[in-house]
């Protein structure tokens, strides 16, 4: 699914980075636990999280995740944005809860990282 469509579904706001329309996202991972993210996230998946510290970006970077969405309108910190910019990771935020965001994306046909 195009990132643009995901942003529309989540009624999200881009915090940093360029939304490219040649990017296709097939899978989503959602967690607030970084080690948890590292166990199941797939490269190029979308990461949904409630954490906004720079560690989220570092975690995404080592796991080759290029897009992060913060839930419940949480704003990333300055350092987080700076780091994401450096690592060329796109950040955006949605007002929806984790549950609703996951539900909407699942209904729209996106796959879970664990379902192969």
């Amino acid at each position: 699914m195009k990132l643009e469509k995901i942003i529309k579904i989540l009624d999200a706001e881009v915090c940093c980075g360029t939304v490219r329309n040649d990017w296709d996202i097939a899978m989503v991972g959602a967690s607030d636990l970084m080690s948890d993210v590292l166990t199941f996230i797939q490269p190029d998946a979308l990461l949904l999280t409630g954490l906004t510290n720079p560690q989220v970006v570092r975690t995404a970077d080592v796991a080759e995740v290029k897009v992060i969405c913060f839930i419940r309108g949480k704003k990333p910190t300055e350092e987080t944005i700076k780091l994401a910019y450096d690592k060329e990771i796109v950040l955006f935020k949605t007002q929806f809860s984790m549950f609703k965001a996951c539900g909407l994306l699942y209904r729209a046909g996106l796959a879970d990282c664990l379902q192969k």
Partner: protein
């Protein structure tokens, strides 16, 4: 264009100054010359407008549009000063490119004379075309540099003559340095990528090192991460000088964690880290002595084919 290219453009427009990209051999005219002469200047140089300059200073700007107005109305005088736009917006040569771009964007100007700060003399001109040209040039240079770097490094193993080649990388990690947590893993990933190591391999190495690096930051006074890259495998050694793990078997249990609250607030301390390291590596050995420290050895084989 890829994401790296777009990110690079954003960086460049905040980094480069107007003076870096402006056209220096600027064609300008005096306010006293006739509109006939202006027509010739525009035609000969194939340009659509010129700054009007007196004693080196910007006094106006005149474009094809003004020329057309003059041709159709023929009223008033017939010298440039009667038809030019007088309140010209200029940019200083030391201003960032973003400043010029937003002026083009918001005011719809086609060209901006560039002046130096001291005497306000016109030293160049920028147009959208000039900016785009310079950005493309910069990006191409950058792209080639990374390409050359990758090419050079990916042939490292072939180019070195020896019975066996090992590249060793050593990094220090400071205890408690949360702000930089993951820098080492990120740098190693970048290096492995340049060495043309397969994505699946460098990703596993990076995840394993990231977890080990975070453990050094959370639980120790710091330590050292050494990475040995060979054609057939990548070996990682992570060592610290305490406090040591009382029972390694316990620590390896999924969910076991002694992480304090501040660690949990960062999204760590789920007791999965060591398991992640194990899962990502082909071999993992932990040696730990309470009071002495912990040594973690990981091997990831290059090719499973």
């Amino acid at each position: 264009m890829n994401n790296a290219g777009i990110g690079k453009i954003q960086e460049l427009i905040y980094d480069l100054s107007v003076g870096d990209v402006m056209k220096k051999d600027v064609i300008s005219i005096s306010p006293d010359i006739s509109m006939y002469k202006l027509k010739e200047v525009l035609r000969k140089n194939r340009i659509s407008g010129v700054p009007v300059v007196k004693n080196g200073c910007s006094v106006g700007i005149i474009s094809i549009e003004d020329l057309i107005n003059w041709l159709t109305k023929k009223s008033a005088g017939s010298s440039v000063k009667d038809w030019m736009t007088k309140n010209v917006v200029t940019v200083y040569e030391d201003e960032k490119l973003i400043q010029a771009i937003s002026l083009f964007d918001q005011k719809g100007y086609g060209r901006l004379p560039v002046v130096e700060r001291k005497e306000k003399k016109v030293v160049g001109i920028v147009t959208k075309g000039v900016i785009i040209e310079s950005l493309l040039r910069e990006i191409e240079i950058d792209y080639h540099e990374e390409e050359i770097r990758r090419y050079r490094m990916s042939h490292f193993f072939e180019d070195v003559t020896a019975d066996s080649v090992t590249i060793g990388l050593i990094y220090q990690v400071k205890g408690g340095d949360v702000m930089n947590g993951g820098t080492v893993a990120g740098n190693i990933k970048k290096t492995l990528k340049r060495l043309d190591i397969k994505p699946d391999i460098y990703r596993r190495v990076a995840i394993a090192i990231y977890e080990a690096e975070m453990n050094l930051i959370f639980y120790t006074d710091g330590g050292e991460v050494s990475v040995y890259i060979k054609p057939e495998s990548i070996c990682v050694n992570v060592r610290d000088h305490g406090p040591g793990i009382p029972d390694v078997k316990d620590a390896l249990r999924l969910g076991f964690s002694t992480a304090p609250n501040w660690v949990r607030e960062l999204g760590f301390g789920a007791g999965i880290g060591l398991n992640n390291i194990q899962r990502c590596s082909d071999k993992m050995i932990i040696n730990s002595t309470v009071g002495r420290g912990t040594i973690l050895d990981i091997t990831v084989n290059m090719d499973t084919l």
